[in-house]
């Protein structure tokens, strides 16, 4: 297991390096430059460019950037005066992270529960209800879902606040908005997986042992049905992080999404790079965690990896 984790970590580092390099090149391929169009004398512009190192050759800039990166320094933003990228991330990330975690917990737990309920009531009303929710969830894009939630719960019924992020009540609508797609996906997957497991021979063995329906479902069916759901958690984290971008702007939440979009529009090289690398490493890390978790749930994986 230790060897497996080490291997995965090494692969992750290489992936991260490729990411940094590709984004570094891509950002500089964008038309225009950071200080274009701003009112300043050529001397000031030259000074600024020297300050950010643009007077040096591209390879030199690259080496400088990577060296700074290795010491954990993302550099200074080119638009927000005297704001380091580290600081911007440190300020905005907690909001995005908090929203993301809430969305994941909400969507995965309810998705699994809905999936189980649907499978156990196959062909009955409850099953159809869960299927309808799943279809709605997968077919309505999150920005529309966000607006619908705001309209219904915020404006029409006046139950929950529609903007900002000041306490638990403020987090409900955005978390549901971000997580709804995932909830739908997880519930469909869980339902299908439950129905597949129930056909397995070991369920019949369990029945022949004289176990009750509840015992069979809890200790044999769910445990085996849940593994495919765990494998999609990696992509789920990715989709939820992307979802937060949109929802953050709809619900006026001061998270990273806002800065990310602006930094691209402003050609704020260091901020784009910094945020991409940060997101990238976060995603890679969460995939790593999911892989390890998968081994914990399915003992067969553990063996294959340790061999």
């Amino acid at each position: 297991m230790a060897k497996y984790i080490l291997k995965r970590v090494l692969i992750s580092i290489v992936t991260l390096w490729v990411l940094v390099t590709v984004v570094f090149i891509l950002v500089r391929c964008m038309p225009g430059e950071p200080f274009q169009g701003e009112k300043m004398t050529p001397e000031i512009k030259a000074n600024l460019e020297a300050y950010y190192g643009f007077d040096k050759s591209l390879p030199e800039q690259y080496i400088m950037y990577v060296r700074n990166l290795l010491s954990g320094d993302f550099g200074y933003s080119m638009k927000y005066l005297n704001q380091s990228v580290n600081k911007i991330i440190a300020q905005s990330f907690p909001y995005s992270f908090d929203l993301g975690i809430r969305a994941i917990v909400f969507s995965v737990s309810f998705g699994i529960i809905f999936g189980i309920i649907a499978a156990l009531n196959r062909g009955k009303k409850l099953d159809y209800l869960c299927v309808v929710i799943a279809i709605l969830g997968t077919s309505i894009p999150d920005f529309i879902m966000g607006a619908i939630l705001q309209y219904l719960f915020g404006i029409k019924w006046g139950l929950l606040p529609v903007a900002q992020y000041l306490g638990f009540r403020y987090t409900i609508l955005p978390a549901v908005g971000v997580g709804f797609y995932t909830l739908a996906m997880v519930s469909r997957l869980m339902r299908a997986s439950m129905l597949e497991v129930v056909q397995q021979d070991y369920i019949k063995t369990a029945k022949a042992k004289g176990l009750s329906k509840a015992e069979i479902v809890c200790s044999h069916q769910i445990r085996n049905a849940i593994t495919p759901v765990v494998t999609v958690l990696g992509p789920v984290v990715a989709s939820i992080l992307c979802g937060t971008f949109v929802i953050e702007s709809i619900f006026a939440i001061p998270g990273m999404g806002k800065y990310y979009v602006e930094s691209v529009q402003n050609l704020d090289y260091s901020l784009v790079l910094g945020m991409t690398v940060f997101y990238g490493s976060f995603l890679i890390l969460s995939n790593l965690v999911v892989d390890i978790l998968y081994g914990v749930i399915d003992p067969r994986i553990r063996l294959q990896e340790s061999r």
Partner: protein
């Protein structure tokens, strides 16, 4: 010696509703099982062996499956067909153990061996001993040793994928035995194992049976296995028992043309090599609309007119040896059925 009758199956009928219509998998099957004996059920795929076995524990899914009206299965005098799921749970695993065909898929891949066996003993239901965790573990370790597993403390904590096929089948046997049942139903327990492991497993079953005097219903399509293990044999075809009797009766006094066909299609080393194996021509009958007459008539080389029109009765050949075939009627022509084994028996 009067032995105790533990299972009495009478007019058992089991059918499945499907989109194509009703499949009559088991039709009017009757047999008794006595304490401590081994009874083989033999027949080709789809003849109703497994459905018969599983209906004894009501393991067939209902719906789409359902019992025929007159069906009766009495276990130690109490009727099984009308029992509820809750009542069945007391019998399953405790009074009647079940060994499934494929040990590779019949064990839960994500649960430790020890727990899978111990589960049988868990629960606080009427008629069950209420064992503590430690007692359950002790009993499981004991049963693991009995089925020939070494290093039981280690195995107790292992997962099925860490065990070989033969070992897994031993675990399945342990699951069937741990509740100390008076009847074990083994549904082709060695079909998915290789021959050397098969021999070991059969030896184990025989050994355990002698120790615990458990009755065994042994389902197989392998007549060789039957000869090694069983006291009595029932030959099934098209959802019906076509011939039943002691192993000697069936092997040396074969009366049903289908049984003859089965005998002649066994490959044997000790018999004349110049004689080709003789497969039974044709395919089993369509159980969506079973034939009116004898189910085997279409494939039978001795079929007469009546065979297609009327289902034959059971004819008594000798005490305990019955055969469902019109050839046994006194008006039928005397046809000498022939198997190489019968020749051997006469020598």
């Amino acid at each position: 010696m009067k032995r105790e009758k533990i299972l009495e199956v009478k007019d058992l009928e089991f059918s499945f509703r499907t989109y194509g219509g009703v499949v009559k998998s088991v039709r009017n099957v009757s047999f008794d099982i006595y304490a401590g004996e081994t009874v083989g059920i033999v027949g080709e795929s789809g003849c109703g062996k497994s459905v018969t076995a599983q209906s004894i524990l009501k393991l067939n899914p209902e719906p789409p499956g359902f019992f025929g009206e007159k069906s009766s299965i009495k276990f130690k005098g109490s009727e099984i067909v009308t029992k509820t799921e809750k009542e069945m749970r007391v019998i399953r695993g405790k009074d009647i153990g079940f060994i499934f065909q494929d040990p590779m898929t019949s064990l839960n891949p994500t649960m430790r061996i020890g727990r899978q066996i111990g589960e049988v003993l868990k629960g606080r239901m009427e008629g069950r001993e209420n064992l503590s965790r430690a007692q359950i573990k002790e009993r499981v370790l004991e049963i693991l040793k009995m089925v020939g597993i070494t290093d039981v403390e280690k195995r107790y904590k292992q997962y099925p994928y860490e065990l070989s096929g033969g070992m897994k089948q031993r675990v399945m046997i342990a699951i069937a035995l741990v509740g100390n049942p008076s009847l074990i139903i083994a549904d082709e327990p060695t079909t998915s194992l290789d021959v050397t492991i098969e021999a070991q497993i059969l030896e184990l079953l025989k050994d355990l049976q002698e120790r615990f005097h458990t009755a065994i219903i042994f389902i197989t399509h392998d007549l060789g296995v039957i000869a090694k293990l069983c006291d009595r044999v029932m030959v099934m075809y098209g959802g019906k028992i076509v011939e039943k009797g002691s192993v000697e009766d069936i092997y040396y006094q074969t009366r049903h043309p289908y049984t003859v066909g089965l005998m002649n299609s066994i490959a044997r080393l000790d018999l004349d090599k110049s004689v080709d194996l003789k497969p039974i021509e044709g395919t089993p009958p369509d159980l969506f609309s079973p034939p009116v007459g004898c189910p085997f008539a279409m494939r039978c080389e001795h079929a007469m007119k009546i065979c297609y029109r009327k289902l034959p009765d059971y004819f008594d050949i000798s005490d305990g040896h019955q055969c469902m075939c019109w050839l046994q009627d006194e008006r039928a022509p005397r046809i000498k059925l022939h198997t190489q084994l019968m020749d051997k028996g006469e020598e």
